[in-house]
Each structure stands twice: as structure tokens, then as C-alpha cells.
Subunit: 390 residues, 2 copies
Amino acid sequence: MKIEAVDFWYLRMPVVEDIGDGSQDALLVRVSGGGQEGWGECEAAPVTSIAAAYAPMSHEACKPVLDGVIGATLDDPDDILRLSRRQRRICMDHLQAPHTWSGIEIALWDLLGKARSAPVWSLLGHRKVFPKRAYASVLFGASPQDTLQNARQAVAAGFTAAKFGWGPFGTAGVEADRDHLLAAREGLGPEAMLLVDAGQIFDRDVEAAAERMAALEDVRAGWFEEPFGGECHKQYAALKARFPNVPIAGGEAAHSVEMAEHAMEFGRVDFIQIDTGRIGGIGPASAVAEMARQGGIQFVNHTFTSHLALSASLQPFAGYEAFDLCEYPANPKQLARDISASLQCDADGLISASEKPGLGVDVDLAKLKKYLQQVEISVNGKILYSTPPI
Amino acid sequence: MKIEAVDFWYLRMPVVEDIGDGSQDALLVRVSGGGQEGWGECEAAPVTSIAAAYAPMSHEACKPVLDGVIGATLDDPDDILRLSRRQRRICMDHLQAPHTWSGIEIALWDLLGKARSAPVWSLLGHRKVFPKRAYASVLFGASPQDTLQNARQAVAAGFTAAKFGWGPFGTAGVEADRDHLLAAREGLGPEAMLLVDAGQIFDRDVEAAAERMAALEDVRAGWFEEPFGGECHKQYAALKARFPNVPIAGGEAAHSVEMAEHAMEFGRVDFIQIDTGRIGGIGPASAVAEMARQGGIQFVNHTFTSHLALSASLQPFAGYEAFDLCEYPANPKQLARDISASLQCDADGLISASEKPGLGVDVDLAKLKKYLQQVEISVNGKILYSTPPI
């Protein structure tokens, strides 16, 4: 088929709070061709990502992300890989491009899967899917008591693993952090897996992270995630060398295969967390999953938005039995719930990629009207982008 | 003083060609405060960078780049470093942000320098400036004969070093590349320094780059620049290990101190090329210059736009005697020439940072009216950005 159209919709909650909750807005992408539609989602900063899709060319290696997409052939996974290679070249100096491309690329896989009546994971070469243990991804509470409640809620909802992140962690002192960690462990009970996400709060400060490691060991943290900036591989490796018993997770900021590769090789993370909505989509994420397998590192998704994004992020590692954890946004905003039907966990708290064609997730635009943001970008009176009607 | 206003202007040549010439458009930034004005320039994709400045918040770590800038205090270099640290935190998931911030940060240094009647390099702690050998940065010609002419022009203009890049290099076979390299050497004569810029054309393909190394040795290339993608540190190191006699240059794509650090440490480049318009401005570039000194690596600017950008890119290494090369856009488009007066080389082809306050470069907006692009970005009818009148 030929790719006939690419459309973007910026959706937003009526109130966006200044908290580490990525489900408060969304940039949906629809790719149309051959009488079908494919859907994808870009992570964060919708207006900037839309601008990158349509911005006028600066030079040979700084073109709009959409350049050359409409009219291109899409019959085969190789067509997507070819378009991705081209995009990397023409947007070399267009920094936002990988985030914009991610949503388009995901939609291309969804479209191809629907055209072929095949789930995306099968197009990636996986023969079957393996269930993953869904961990509830929630924020630390404002107080340890709130964190305790959040933990109890996760257990009550059937999760056997939960991750606590952001909120006050790292900002109110070592003892305050210990109190939150103890509360989380208490709320989860002794059996559930407890994961901790520092949200890059220590940036480049290895000592500040090191001060939290005793408490993390005490609560038997399954991992300590993103203590440092996304590219601070040397700091990650330094912390690992000092505290070999606490697994380290990172990589969600990766906007290229290389950045993820470096987090594994130079940063020595134990878990590589990939967001398909940032790294350039499902193809690059799949390449990282295979690198992780070869390196004996655990691949896991990063997802803090909708179940469309969750389905996309499951595809690259759906067929790896050893990669048995999955980040599951447990308390997303209503917007994220309304984008698509949810992927349900089974009674054991396990989740699997859908067997349906494409991503196996339907998007009902009509339901999203109330969240729609009307965006217009023009240059010299010529409209480059205007939100398409729903 | 308080920062009172930040303004952006997108300027563009009437025709932007599909060539590797970064001087075809510009995003100028003016920061006003205390009755003075500071100027900066962001590298590439002006509409995307403007969008990043004003895009609505997605969450705690994905805010508009301008958040918290207007009204902030600017009395001291530490104020700029503090604003940069804050920007890094609030724009963690806003990929374009470092490019946008670069122009603002440069303008902050210019403003502070003017307020203090001191050149920026002195605010960075340098006691004096050392002259740099300006190398003419030009594109390969369409044919070897054109490349020969380009080389002769550079010599005739007084340059003792020249760099050839982009154009057909890497796309038409090993022999064609050799012909261009021989033509460049012939045109420059035996004495001048010949530098070669592959413009990332081989991306991840070490073998393809390796095939060019014999010709590069034959023409005594002073360096081979960016054979691979900006983050392909392992490929850089692999090529270096196989061909230790050809110096390798890279780093212009760095949008963080870490990325530059990795190019040096993991990529083993001999020359680290930093664009202050991408890495987050003059502060991060200065940090890289000091790392380079400690690592015995040569720091050099990357500049392919205006002399405002050139002046900004000179500041971080102005005071290092050992860093004695400077990229000099030899044939920029008229737009780039009109943005500011040129920094002139002396009779020996040497260039030095200005002794005047700030960046020492005046921008005459009135002269730029004909290049002005009228941009408007709105969400739900509310205008986030509209090009300010000149």
C-alpha cells in the first residue's frame, strides 16, 4: 500500500498538575493507507513534536519529520526500517525528531499488522507471546502514610509488584526517603516486588544516590531506577561498582539505539527500560531487546501514559520468555483510560501482548473530543499544521 | 538585574537548498534586562525550537523551556549556571530543549558581559585570549574540479587551513571520494592543513569508513570528521583502533556535556567539536573544554552559521593556548553575513575572540527585516508565540 495520510491530535486533561505523571496529555498519531488506520503515540511535549513534523527545512540534514512519509510504500517490515533509516539521516540536526518519529513509526507497525491481519510482535519475528508480571507504576505519596496507602491499593488491585517514583523522593533528605521506602514495603507486604524510581533527581551526584542505598537494601528493592540523568552512564557505573547488590535500572530517556546501548555497556544497568514513544518506535526498541538478550540484561518497557502506548511497548519484548516484567500504569489520568480499552492482567497479575492484528488496541476518537486541543502553527500566513477535526 | 524579556526571530533565505549548508536560516534570541540586550542563536529547526520555548507543560519534567526565565535574577555567572541546571531538570523529557536553551543561554552571557563591561571569556575565568588558526569550512564541490576550485578560493582568501565536507562525499564510491580528496589537496597546495568532514554519512558502517582511510592518509588529512552518527561512539573507537594515524574529529551533535564526554572517553576522538548553539550554550561548552584539556584532547568549535554564533563558540576556548584551531564559515549565505559584522582573521589567517563586552558582536535587526519569517503558534485560540515586530 501507499501511506496516504498522517494526522496528529494533541489531547490534554483540563488541569495539568506539576507532578511526575506522564498521563496528563498525549499526542496521538494516525497513519492511513489501503483503507486501514494505524495508531501511535508520541511521549510528551505534543506541540513541540507537532512542530518537528512540519517545521520548514533548515538544510539537508534538518528537515521536517514528515518529509517523504506520505506516498511512501508500506508492504513489509523492511519498509518501516527503511523509512526509519531515512528519517534518522534527514533529521540528524533536528533534536525533537525521534520523539515525533516514535509515534509515526508505532502507527506504521499497527497499520501494517492490520493490513496483514497479524499482531505486530509476529511481524517482528516472535512466534508466541510470553506473559509478563505487571508491576503497578505509581508515584510516591506526599507523606509516608500516603505512600503506604498507595502500596496497599496496588496489592488490593491484584498486583504482585509495584514501583514508587518521583514525588518527594530525593528532595527531603535521606531519612525522609527511608521512611517512604519502609512505608512502601510495609504496604506491599513482605512478598511483593518493590521497585524504586528516583526520576533522575540526583542528576550527576553519585554521593547523594549512595546515601540511599542502605535503605534500598533494607527494603529489598528489586531495582533502583534512574538515580541520575539519562546520559550519566559514568555515574550509573560508579554507583553499581560501589553497591553491586542493588540492581540498577535506566534507559527510558534513550532517543536512539546507541543511547540505550551505552546505558547497558557503559552504564552497566541491570534493567534496560525502553519507551517506544521516545526511542524512535518499535523497531529501535526491538534492536535494544536483542542487544539486551545478548548482554544478559533484562529488557523492560517504560510506559506512563495510555494502553495504546503500553501495547506498543510490549511488542518488542513480547516473545522473550526471560523478559518477564512489564511496567503497567496503574493510576493514569482519565484521558489515558479513554484513549483505548485497557490491556487486562490475569488473576495472577500477568499481562500479555494482544493476539489481535496490529497493536490490538482500538482508538475511539469520538470519545476523546473533550480532551482535544486546537493547535495551529503558521509561517508567513501559511498554515503548516491545524488540528484535524475529530 | 532581572531578566525582563526573551524574544525569538526566525530568519530565512528566500530559497533554502537541500544541501549541507547550515547558514540558510537562523533563530535569533534576544534577552533584555537592566536596559541592555543580549543576543544568541539556536542551531537549526527554528519553528521546533520556538515551539519548545512555549509548549504547554506535559508534566513536572516536561515544561516549556522559557518557564522561570522571565523575572529571574542575572547578576553573576552562577545565575546562568543555576538557570541551566533548572532548565535541565524541568525539560528532562523535552527533547528539543537543549537546542532552544542554547540560544537563550548565549544571550544571557552576552547580556551579563555588557552589563559588566566585560567580554564573556573573562566572565568564564580566562585572563587573555589566544589567537586560533581559522580554517575555512566549505562544502565539497559537485565534481572534483569544483572541489579544486573551492580549495583554491580558500587559499586565495588567506586561509592556511580548510575543511571540506558533505556534498557527494561517501555517496559515490571510494574512487570518487579519493578524487575529491586529491583535488582538495591539489587546490590547497602541499602546506595548508586539509580537514575532511563526512557528515555522518556512514552512520554505523565502520567498513565503509575504513575504505576511505588510505586516501585520507595519502592526502595527509588533519582529521576525519564525523564518519558516523553523533552517538556512535563504539564505531568511532573501532575506526580509531584500526587506523591510529588518522586523527578523528566528532562531537558537534552533542546536546549535553555527557554526550561530548562520551565522544571523548568512549569514542576516543582526537578533536572534540562543540557547537554552543546545540550543547546548551557557553557554560556546557566550557565544561567540555576543560574536560578536553584534562584528557589531552583538542577542543574546537563547530560553527556553520553566523558570526554571532562564531563569537559565542569562541568564548569557551578563547583562553586556552593549546586549542589553536577555529572553524570559520567561509562562504555563508548572505543572511548569516547580515546578522552581524564579521570577525576578521589577521594577515596570518588567525582569529581571536573579541575584547569588547559580551560577545562583542552587534546585531542590527533592521537589516534583517527581509529575512524575517512570521511565525504564529496557538493552542485553543490562545497565541503562545507570534513573531515580535522588528
